[in-house]
Subunit: 198 residues, 2 copies
Amino acid sequence: MSHLSLAQQRLLDAAADAFAEKGFGGTSTRDIAARMGRSSAAVYIHYGTKEELLYAISFQGHQEALAVLREARDAVEDPAAQLWAMVHRFSQWHMVHARRARVVQYEFGALAEEHRAEIRDLRREMSQLTVEVLGDGVASGAFVIADLEGTARAVLSLCIDLVRWFDPGLARNQERVAVLNADLAMRMVASPRTSLEG
Amino acid sequence: MSHLSLAQQRLLDAAADAFAEKGFGGTSTRDIAARMGRSSAAVYIHYGTKEELLYAISFQGHQEALAVLREARDAVEDPAAQLWAMVHRFSQWHMVHARRARVVQYEFGALAEEHRAEIRDLRREMSQLTVEVLGDGVASGAFVIADLEGTARAVLSLCIDLVRWFDPGLARNQERVAVLNADLAMRMVASPRTSLEG
DNA sequence: GTCTATATGTTGATAGAC
DNA sequence: GTCTATCAACATATAGAC
């Protein structure tokens, strides 16, 4: 699965940069090759079509993002601390890997139907994970939430929309934005009586 | 500005549908023409290039979205009511016009530099409008906000990210989602002492 | 305003030398 | 694995008839 050669990973990174900048449809295999300093034929050594390249990027990216959410949850026990960590790290991931994350989030529709189905499963796992944590918080009385699934979606939207505007050059702002998002997510769900705000 | 013939508006709608589905770079002028039942030459009657077509869609869309925010604010006086209405109507707009809104939000990078500069101004106006309302709420004691600009961005993210996943076929959910987003935005900013939650 | 036809360049992908 | 050379299809955009 993740046994990619260095050359292969360089190819994926070049393709992701190009897709993020010009979109999947607006990127030519020559664009990608030029970013690696190679000829366009080099693109087809590891992947048979441009779409397979996109799928590899998308699959790897979704797995990474899902792992980030899982690790954040597993690092702590309290639902409030779990949600805070999840939003903080998920936001960070979307800023640190802004270009790859943009492809992951925006080029779903460019995947072949068979590949879309696989990615859909990974996305569902992310939603379910978030819904579970929100549900645990409601059960413990820490959260007050009327619509679990809608609120989970909204919390993830806060992080995902970063790829639309965040400039990876603004590295200094990353931590500030990640903390802001995590704090805002807490406000969105916290019971008024257990406010953690300063 | 908004003096578009019916044929012209049909062209923009066909182009927006195509761009939303396949991306700007992935859409050919033949795609657009086929959606209108015309030949590809018909695309060039009103606009000289594919990019001009995108700019027309983007400009019109941003103006509409900005007007929606302004009207929501102007309809009421209290900052809390203003913010609720803005998020409610801005969310609605992104769901009702999901395909056009997707082009508006995602194809900024495909615009020519001169056009990007104009669109940037409209986006800045939206941010400023939101920051102002949040600032008024802080001044009146209704809101408690540490980072005005960051929070304004987050509130708009909630609405904008709808275009990534919302299916216009799910018309029944529109009002539910719009109300949820507006309620969540209130939680994000409301002073703990003035909670409006049920 | 719309068509057919077309000029000119670019595209994804492959063949075959090294 | 990487290159050069190439193919057939497709791209944007235009010319000129109706």
